[in-house]
Amino acid sequence: MKDHIDKVQDYIDSGKSIPETVIADLSEKETEILGTILDFRQNIKQELNSRISDKPLNLKKNVLGQSGDTVNNTGSRVFRNIILAAAAFVILLSTPGIYRNLETRKLIREDAQSFVGTITDTAWIDNKTPDTGTDTEWFDAEPIVMTGIY
């Protein structure tokens, strides 16, 4: 049975007409199967077309950039994620460094305040800031006016 059906399908696929002798050899069951295959073959395209739209595809603007370069595709998304992960890693690594740096600055500042206080014999006032709104800190002593020829 398989041989007969295969033989007829060979004729179908090659576009040749099926000889009468081949048809004569087919059993009733084989004829029924082949009739169904031909029916299927004849209608499948039409049936599929009736279920799909023929409207042009509206290509998403983010699919093809205006310059024609592709953007936001899987490749660039993966690349972007790698960059973000690398940046996060660098920040993570540098955080203790930044912290140490801030601590050092604080110690230097305290040393400087103490040194200036010692040589000018003044006390440091933390909250006294100039009217300009800058964060410069001031001493409560009068400014030393330097005179003479330099």
Partner: protein, 191 residues
Amino acid sequence: MLENLDDHECIVRFKKNREEAVFNCLLARYRMAIRRIIFTVLKGGDPDEAEDVEQEVAIALYTSLADFSFKSSFKTYLYRLCRNKAIDHIREKERERKLFKKISRIDMQQTQELPEEAVEKEEKKNALIQTLFDLPEAERTIIVLKDAEDMSLKELSEILNKPVGTVKSQLHRARVHAAKIYMQKQGEEFK
């Protein structure tokens, strides 16, 4: 004017200037075939999903067309791309479904029953399409590529990456399988 160019000429022109009009012309030429293949592999399904796959095909085509080497015909290349993208989409959906099921511990079968039932009722209106959907993916794709897209066995062997002889026997087997399911469905209808 662009319509007069064959696939080869379109691709050569696209390689030169990446003209969007040429690309759109090529895409329009195969629009229905692309949709038939996606529809077949996805077993119909949600039209929005089918459109997503079509967009994926368009992106992949746009990015790869400039490097197209003409080793195979454009048609076989495009059809293989469509099939692969649709299969990728099914796998992705399946992964998402499994993940969602794991996270929410919701029995998805229950929540999915209703739309699926509705879809099935709609699909049963036509035995031919339902028969197609009852076949395994490889069988329904091979039937559509041969009988709807009228591809040669050689072209099929390029798309499916299998020898011509294998493709031929798979096609014959798939058609007989489809015919038997179809006849069974017809018989059920007449009962």
